[in-house]
């Protein structure tokens, strides 16, 4: 196997922690999932541009529509069978499903989410600058009205303590309870070891990744 992993910057630190020396890492910008069709196009472009490897691993889940319909003539595509990076950071789809079942209105944070400012307080600061204090406050209240809690995922990467403290402040800012979950990089490690069992969607050359394989 001559492999490369194409991953979202949100998980950069976690991936680097367990990445074997012989697997190359290609990072994509944060938050492309916000426009799923564009994420899909971007991923397909990266696949098409690669002529060095026979296997492409993905530091993505389904990510809305992000990996739907991806295909390659030369690579085997290996994607963790999860909805998104939250399951990847928690170590298993089941862990995420269990949390979702109990509290569908959870906003998960991890170091990567905090670094990119993809959280209520980060949004607030951007809104204040663009729309003024009063509008910003109203926008945040509307946007996060249905969230019941903020949960920080401790994946063991550097600066966990300051991230946790920040996450707690974010929860205070939108006035919801704060929780903490221990993350796990087992899915990433398993992918790197080549143990592609039912926890992965493996697509051989010439075949297409389908959205319903993840549902």
């Amino acid at each position: 196997m001559h492999a490369k992993i194409i991953a979202c910057s949100t998980m950069a630190d976690e991936i680097k922690m367990v990445l074997p020396a012989d697997i190359e890492l290609e990072l994509l910008p944060y938050a492309l999932h916000n426009t799923p069709q564009k994420l899909q196009a971007e991923l397909q472009q990266r696949i098409d541009a690669d002529v060095e490897h026979d296997t492409l691993l993905f530091g993505y889940g389904l990510c809305s529509y992000g990996v739907a319909n991806l295909s390659s003539e030369r690579h085997t595509l290996v994607i963790p069978k999860v909805h998104d990076c939250i399951s990847l950071l928690l170590g298993a789809r089941e862990v995420y499903d269990r949390e979702f079942e109990q509290f569908p209105g959870t906003y998960f944070l991890s170091k990567g989410w905090i670094d990119q400012g993809a959280e209520p307080y980060g949004d607030y600061l951007r809104y204040v600058e663009k729309y003024g204090e009063e509008n910003a406050r109203w926008l945040i209240d509307s946007q996060y009205a249905n969230y019941q809690r903020i949960v920080f995922i401790d994946t063991g990467v550097e600066k966990m303590e300051s991230c946790l403290a920040y996450s707690q402040r974010v929860a205070g800012f939108i006035k919801v309870p704060h929780g903490e979950l221990k993350g796990s990089l087992r899915l990433l490690e398993k992918m790197f070891r080549g143990e592609w069992d039912e926890e992965f969607v493996v697509t051989p050359p010439g075949r297409m990744v389908l959205q319903h394989q993840f549902l």
């Binding site: 389904l62 529509y65 909805h83 729309y131």
Partner: protein
């Protein structure tokens, strides 16, 4: 005095205070409520819809425009009888079970209202039974379902299945939308249409009720 153009512009810029002020001023001058709605508030919102689609405006801005328009509507609505409001058709909208995301669906609701539809916005986390109940109660021509999460999008399918079981499927057109949804997903679950954004959803609704937008 302020013109319809000023009112529309205040909706476009999301100036809540100004929209209320101009609307009140127009009411006081005796301008007809339907004129205020159509030539001012809705005219503004229609521009918002077009700019949003062209990515010249973004979600927070559209939310502020919607809030401003609602501020004006609140003042005008008591002045008109329900029967005076021309309606193109009725649409029941909701975010599917397990999904608490509200904003995109509510923007669709607003764009549809601006287009002349009566919209019954059920809110979020609506179980298939909730859609069934709303269809029986409001007798819409169209039911719209939204999902932002891939964990919940299959509940669209579950809802369509229940509509069939309850014998309601032939009475309504079903449309779907939301970030993870695509035309092929809509086809797969047997929906009648897919809207990739709020403006497409509006055109789709007009098409489904057999009227020109």
């Amino acid at each position: 005095m302020s013109s319809f153009n000023d009112l529309a512009e205040s909706v476009i810029t999301g100036n809540f205070g100004k929209v209320k002020e101009i609307t009140q001023e127009m009411i006081d001058k005796g301008i007809g409520p339907l004129e205020i709605i159509n030539d001012g508030l809705i005219a503004g919102m229609n521009v918002v819809g077009v700019r949003f689609k062209a990515e010249d405006m973004f979600v927070p801005e559209v939310m502020m425009s919607a809030k401003a328009m609602a501020g004006g509507m609140e003042l005008v609505k008591p002045l008109i009888a329900d029967t005076d409001m021309p309606s193109v058709g009725t649409v029941v909208l909701g975010t599917v079970k397990g999904d608490l995301h509200d904003i995109g669906k509510s923007l669709v609701a607003m764009i549809l209202e601006s287009g002349g539809f009566k919209v019954v916005n059920l809110g979020t986390d609506i179980a298939p039974e909730g859609f069934v109940k709303a269809i029986r109660e409001h007798k819409p021509q169209i039911v719209g379902m939204s999902a932002l999460l891939t964990t919940t999008m299959l509940n669209m399918k579950a809802t369509i299945e229940l509509l069939k079981e309850e014998g309601l499927r032939d009475q309504v057109k079903v449309i779907v939308g939301g970030a993870p949804v695509s035309q092929s997903f809509a086809d797969e679950i047997g929906a009648d249409g897919y809207g990739s954004d709020a403006m497409v959803a509006k055109d789709l609704c007009f098409k489904l009720v057999g009227k020109a937008s």
